[in-house]
Amino acid sequence: MSKALPANLEQIEVNLKKLTNQRTRSSLLGIAILILVFFSGTLVSLEANAGSFGRGIANFFNYPRDLFIDTFEMGWKYWPRVVKYIPELITTLNIALFSTSIGFVLAVIFAIFSSRNLIRNKRVIQFTKFFMDVTRSFPTLIIAMVFLYLMGKSSLPAVIAITIHTAGALGKLFTEAIENCDGKPIEGLSSVGATWTQKIRFSVLPQVLPLFLSYGILRLEINVRESTILGFVGAGGIGEMLAALIQWNYGADVLACMFLLVGTIIALDYLSAYWRHNLIGVNQ
């Protein structure tokens, strides 16, 4: 068949074949790398793990089963237990909400100072971006542990850690939002002689505020999880309670805390999806 084709079409076919081969080769290379990573990772895990993999799989349901058995033994007396831990849950939520709010404000300030369309000075932008990279990259746990060591047990280290991380993480997203916003309104305000603050207030802010709030709500959801985890290392709230209960082996109470947590997270998940849908019209 190819004989009947004119020369240039043959050339096309040759090129196509070349391209296809190239794609196949790079796909195969990618898959080979993935398999290599998988096997070497598994080897490391097998070497480093304390228990064996097979026994772990077999024991997987033991702990949840023990928890449920403990719970069913209690019968109707169980529900007061669940209610008992609600104040702890509120502490955790309080930590998350407060530090998200403060971090949100800091992030807005950082974002303004790292957006190319608002700041002309390259040094300032680079410095702010680097600063946000650093604050964002530290796991909250590490910051919280250091402050816990320095300040003693309280909720404050968690607030500080989450605030720092939130400022960096939101700051990056906010910067992208500001840099992608429409430049026309800024030009319009410039043409009537608006000052820098006026330009931000009346042209940038109205454009980005819904997006900011949407990201903030998403962060709040993440921060509730974070503050629970920080509670685990001693920052108070339901996390700290859960850690203690696990150590004392109070199965029913452990399950009560877990229920509260999972319920809260799922509720927040739906709530934040709903809010964000209202704000910007999409789920993500």
Binding site: L34, V37, F38, G41, T42, V44, S45, A48, N49, A50, G51, F53, G56, I57, N59, F60, N62, Y63, P64, N94, I95, L97, F98, S101, I102, D133, V134, S137, F138, P139, T140, L141, I142, M145, V146, Y149, L150, M151, G152, S154, S155, L156, V159, E176, R225, T228, I229, F232, V233, G239, I246, M258, L261, V262, I265, I266, D269, V282, N283, Q284
Partner: protein
Amino acid sequence: MSSSLAIERDNIRKLFPDTFNQARKSRIKGQIIFFLILIYLIIGFFTLDVVDIPKKWKPQNAAMFVLDTYAHKDHVTMKWENPDDIKIAFEGNYRSVYGRDNLDKSIPEWFYKNSDNIGNVIEFNNEGKAILYKDRVEIVNFPKYERDFTIKLNTNGKPYVVGSENLAKDDLKGFRITENRVEFRPTLHERVQVYPKKVEIHRYSIGWKYFWFDFSSPLEPYSFFEALGLTFSKERVVPEMSNLKLFLTEIKDNEAFMHGRVWWAMLETIVMAVLGTMFATVMALPLSFLAAYNVTPIKALRFTLRRLFDTLRGIDFLIWSLIFLRAFGPGPFTGIFAIGFTDTGTLGKLYSEAIENTEKKQQEGVQSTGASKFLQHRFGIIPQILPIFVSQSLYYLESNTRGAVIIGAMGAGGIGLQFLGALGTGNDFENVAYMAILVLAVVIFMDRLSAWLRRILIGTDQLIVR
């Protein structure tokens, strides 16, 4: 001019009353929300004891912590009952004593051992000196101090500063005198403490000493690059093994910084993050197809899978890791499965939404050629969503690295647990700083790696949502 503008504005306001009212309404709504948030912040301020920060914040502790992260110190100890036996130890560790017979470790050059009438001299980095005699300690030549001091024991065996009763409080700055101790600490880097039984001097220098080779290592006299150069020479430093092997084992088994253990722990953490993300991706891929309405017609199946994703995600990785910790014991498997289970939920939801948002035209185009359902999905949907899949998975790889550190600290091992251990000892803050920097570097590296992979695989390093 302005009055004519005002008339114009009034006219417009009369013409479009609804628009103006709406604007005012939304402005008032915004103000109310703003005040509610303000009130909450004030409440939060008090319920979370933010006002207590100045009370809880101990500048002394923080300064010591920071000092220890970038400096090291040598302890010089003299017991009054045996003044000839002066011990100089790195960080006060009994295993790192200078000038001990069995070690070829000479006395550091800032210490001058003299006969008693001249005294043993310790020279600090700021050229100040502490001189140890049999019956007294002299502090001489400190910058910003006009006079020298002598500390002695009184007849009751308690330390005191000679002539302190004639000195003003300002002349004694840097001193802290209690009944059983006289402490002189002009800056954070010099510290002389005199007790009824002994004298202890801390001499700080900046830097991480013994970072590559520890105190008792045969390679300690050499710098890192000198030692690296030695690996090419045939002359063996120790007869038992080749220089290269010695070089590597000495770094690996460094007692102070424990490079071997720390790097292995770091590897465990990375493995948790990478394999966890891979596990989640592999699980979420088929499930997300089954949960998308344009692929699966069965509503019950879609509903079940959606709720499964919600549950997996809702049971946070904290709880997953608690369950897996009981099953697998401490180790990477706990982390892999905790991350994998949580992210199967997250990625499953994101993927299935992406599939539902694909362009229908392409699938129809494939369908028009008479292709089977499977081929329609393969060539109609997958090419559209592949960039989103890759982008999302790589994005989660970075955040999972941070997650893996946290799971490790809760008992699954890895760098998180090492960090907790170093912080718990209360004095190895240089290790704490080392590990914090390492974690920071690895997280930033993973961030850059995933951005780079996104760029070469799908052409943009921004997160694609749809």
